[in-house]
Symmetry: C2
Subunit: 476 residues, 2 copies
């Protein structure tokens, strides 16, 4: 952290275009190592080569996206209030912009060895902001993490960045992570993982003398409400789409639809059967690692041991390390009294909750924790008829989706991958998309500065050509 703080003092002074070149160099170094990275990650995670190749592309695209963001430059939210000497008291010239906070700690995620790990979205957003990073590599893919780190080291050398702009530490257990969060020089933490892990990091942060934000993306069951007209008219297509979403990547996505909700009806029964068949038709595949597979097995058994939770259908019996896709159903009455049914079961599983009527549907929605996503499946007839229920549903999550499965998280400016606790620890921010950069910055106001002492983003002639808010209007 000491090295990171020293590097930060130099790195923060780099120009946005120099940092953009650095991010692009990391991307090209990763691309050059694509084959060895895929092979290493395949050996460590059981993920198929096609998925890992896709994830590398996503990783390099994210780096390019952040490079583009800082080259364009408007993200610093430059605001200029010009002086009004005629006011009493005289109003001074005030100009604000976002600046990086300092050394940040990023924890690699187990389920995305590239896109949310060593050079993933968190790291890319930190480096774009002008902050330095210490990465805690995930112990489930240590060699992959080390190789990615080495590509970043080469990029540091090639683009002339301070040696310790990026550092990498590894280790099983919690001691290393705890020490990083507690270190006085740490100014922020990024994490994607379990509720237990995120809460532990929050706990460490609460022990600090100086508070720092922990941005942990943790736990979401991504409720999907199937409204009646959609069920009556599109059951077959919906069953295919959502079976695909539930089992995509063997359910190892934070946006996996783990909770399905509908009103009791023959249309719902028909849909449940079709969905069960479609889920059962998916062949089991290996999960990321032994720990995740065992946790899924235990969680699945625990789920089916609950009163009134019934198996709808499941796939063929899995081999070792493989997940076992399954669909369960229960009544809203059961769901409302058993909080364990609201817990995330990480894997290809979904629980369908049947509601007697609108009141019960509303009660189920109001009983839910905060979520990353919530999905409305409904025709125009449904959305007109169920407006008030949809209004309640829409308050649950950071992303509200109409007639799309929740899996598939576009990396763009409008994305919100965040949401009320326990989806994340801070619903004010997103961990995916360009908005993720806002986690590592703070606003600074410069009062009464002459132009030559101001950062470029705030100079009168706007040398960076960025969008700025001047005396309450936007201009470039």
């Amino acid at each position: 952290m000491q090295r990171s703080a020293e590097a930060f003092n130099q790195y923060r002074e780099t120009t946005p275009s120099a940092r953009a070149v650095f991010l692009e160099t990391i991307a090209s170094e990763i691309t050059q190592q694509r084959d060895v990275l895929v092979a290493t990650a395949q050996a460590e995670t059981n993920l198929p080569a096609a998925r890992l190749n896709g994830e590398i592309t996503r990783t390099t695209s994210q780096l390019q996206l952040f490079a583009n963001l800082i080259k364009e430059g408007s993200w610093v939210e430059a605001v200029i209030d010009t002086a009004k000497p005629e006011n009493t008291p005289a109003k001074p010239d005030l100009r604000r912009m976002l600046v990086p906070v300092g050394p940040v700690v990023v924890f690699g995620a187990s389920n995305f060895p590239f896109a949310f790990s060593t050079a993933g979205g968190d790291t890319a957003s930190v480096l774009a902001a002008g902050a330095t990073v210490v990465i805690k590599g995930h112990p489930a893919h240590p060699r992959t993490s080390q190789l990615v780190f080495e590509t970043m080291q080469r990029a540091i050398q090639k683009s002339g960045m301070p040696e310790f702009t990026v550092q990498h530490v590894t280790g099983e257990g919690n001691a290393t992570g705890k020490a990083l969060v507690l270190h006085p020089l740490t100014t922020g933490v990024g994490f994607t993982g379990s509720l237990q892990g995120g809460k532990a990091l929050l706990g460490y942060a609460a022990e600090r003398e100086v508070p720092i934000p922990v941005f942990a993306e943790m736990s979401s069951i991504n409720p999907v409400v199937f409204y009646p007209d959609a069920l009556a008219t599109q059951a077959e297509q919906l069953a295919q789409t959502f079976a695909g979403s539930i089992t995509l990547g063997m359910g190892q996505f934070c946006t996996n639809p783990g909770l399905l909700i509908g009103l009791k009806s023959t249309a719902l029964d028909n849909f449940v059967n079709l969905l069960g068949d479609a889920v059962a038709a998916v062949a089991p595949q290996k999960m990321l690692h032994k720990g995740i597979c065992e946790a899924y097995g235990k969680g699945r058994s625990h789920m089916f041991s609950q009163d009134n939770v019934l198996l709808v259908n499941e796939s063929a019996v899995p081999a070792e390390m493989e997940a076992w896709p399954a669909l369960a159903r229960t009544a809203a009455k059961t769901f409302l009294v058993n909080p364990q049914l609201k817990e995330e079961l990480f894997g290809p599983f979904s629980l369908l909750v049947e509601c007697e009527d609108k009141a019960e549907l509303l009660a189920v929605l109001k009983s839910l924790h905060g979520q990353l996503t919530t999905t409305i499946v409904g025709t125009a007839t449904d959305t007109a008829q169920w407006k008030d229920v949809i209004a309640v549903q829409s308050t649950l999550a950071g992303r509200v989706i109409l007639n799309n499965p929740p899996t598939g998280v576009e990396v763009c400016a409008a994305m919100v991958h965040g949401g009320p606790f326990p989806a994340t620890t801070d619903q004010r921010f997103t961990s995916v998309g360009t908005g993720a950069i806002k986690r590592w910055v703070r606003p600074v106001c410069f009062q009464n500065f002459p132009d030559d002492m101001l950062p470029d983003a705030l100079k009168a002639r706007n040398p960076l050509g960025i969008w700025r808010q001047i005396d309450n209007g936007f201009t470039r």
Copy 2:
């Protein structure tokens, strides 16, 4: 809090223009009660009528500023990424904006009975955002707080807002405040006050099952560095300006310059004498209340009991409840080894630290905690010559000021009244200016919504006429 949550479900659905009318109605109700409010606050706080009248104007101006902000509407940060069906996988239409989080608790401040209390900046920003508020009135001015609350109740009735949009609780001690912070329905906390008070609120928040942000503005000594050429050429004028700033409102401002720093020289000695004379020439006045006056007396004695802290000059001996303006000096060597000299002493006091050389000046700057403001006093010669020191100084605070005293906090879009801990608990936000609204909102992304289901801010034809970021460019 239960009532607040119920009111929130209605209030969040109000239009920005209806909320703007509500804020304007509060302002006009306060204006109508101006005389009785000033008289009541004068009796409770010892603040002079002129100051209280000015503060009422500031309060109503803040309400109007937030009304204007939400009428203009661009603050919701609407971002639209249109669909790209030709992509693989197809990119859905994604639109995000800021929405209010829920019931918020605001603690009134003792030193601003209007502008940072019941209907002050925190409350105005909460109501503008579309969130509801429970105000804990400050026990030092309970009748003033109650009267202001009654003006807000009238505004609620006149503008047809839900009855419990604003609620008001009072009480000595910490039990009420603790209960409010711990309540499960609370989604955020705003506070301006002491380090001890802010830390207590942070501690309560850390006990919660669901974490919430505590935005506490607490402690700052607002370091001012006087560079040599300015001291050599402007000593007399600087002494007048800064004596005025140190004693303004008897030093009861969070931006009071409590720490002055300069390089040992005859120019500095000359300035110190002039400044001491100017401070001593200020007549003592009553402080806000007995507790603050006693704390100042104790803190002042404690300061002068420290080794090598010398009195430069002080005003006439004060009468009961009055503050005792004073200037002290010490050597950097003393300052660097005694952490107590870095603590805020709330009142008309400032400590001047003399540095032997540039290295010692840098060491002093690097030893400081986070600050609300830091001020550079320097000529063009100074700013050219001391660039590297100014760079270090500029990282200390949320607002960096050149050749202005730090007291005087303009309420505008570019203002940052915030800074690294212990100035505030969250340096990512400001508590003064339009940016303060960002504390009470979270982003929500709508995916694949038809136009008629989207909030107005995100509709294709832009019915609100706001600035939006569409496919990475700003447009209205």
